[in-house]
Amino acid sequence: MIRVQTEDFDIGAEVAALSKDRHDIGAVVTFSGTVRDKTGDLLALELEHYPGMTEKELVRIEREAQERWPLEASLIVHRVGRLAPGENIVLVVTASAHRQAAFEAAEFLMDYLKTRAPFWKREETASGGDWVDARDSDDTAAARWTKK
């Protein structure tokens, strides 16, 4: 399941909804990304996205994870709009019978999301606004899944 929303999410509630009444799961991994204030002067993070393509891309990424790992359930939630330091940005949840599958699928989802989902971050400080640059390390992280 995927969702793009302005509202915050609750990790515990999302995991509970995913695993409700199920006895076949065994392992649940969550990743949550939050707004980090690296320099101490961040006022807000603005998240822009490409409505329409974003949802399609997230569905594609989730489907690919489900094809690669034996997942019992998965969830991607990504927020858009203006976020304050410390606020949640993204949540990925993977549930599987086995912990290795849950861990790997969560890392895969994050790596692909970081390099393929059409979101852009703009950092707003007292001195103005700056679009965040893409990082080579994210491309390197994503590339490891195609080397196999």
């Binding site: 490409y50 393509m53 990504h78 989902a117 965040v132 893409a134």
Partner: protein, 83 residues
């Protein structure tokens, strides 16, 4: 054809979305970029460094040499930074 621009590409072109009618010789993304750059200095600046331009044709990631024949929607944006 509908064109969309995001993040700093949008800021430089000064446009979020527009409808264009292309001349018949513009058949791929590179041709479209060349055509856009000739419009004004905002577009020229937006497409100055193609290494940092990404593109989607009908909401799917596409290379800059991809065809746009029959496409409804082409979008230009910087490398993504979500997550």
């Amino acid at each position: 054809m509908k064109l969309l621009y995001f993040a700093w590409v949008k800021q430089k072109t000064g446009t979020a979305e527009e409808d264009v009618t292309l001349p018949p010789e513009v058949t791929d993304v590179t041709g479209l970029i060349d055509w856009l750059r000739r419009r004004d200095e905002g577009y020229e600046a937006a497409f100055e460094d193609l290494k940092v331009i990404r593109c989607a044709v009908d909401q799917e990631h596409a290379d800059l040499n991809a065809s746009i024949a029959g496409a409804q929607e082409v979008a230009f944006f910087p490398p993504v930074t979500g997550g």
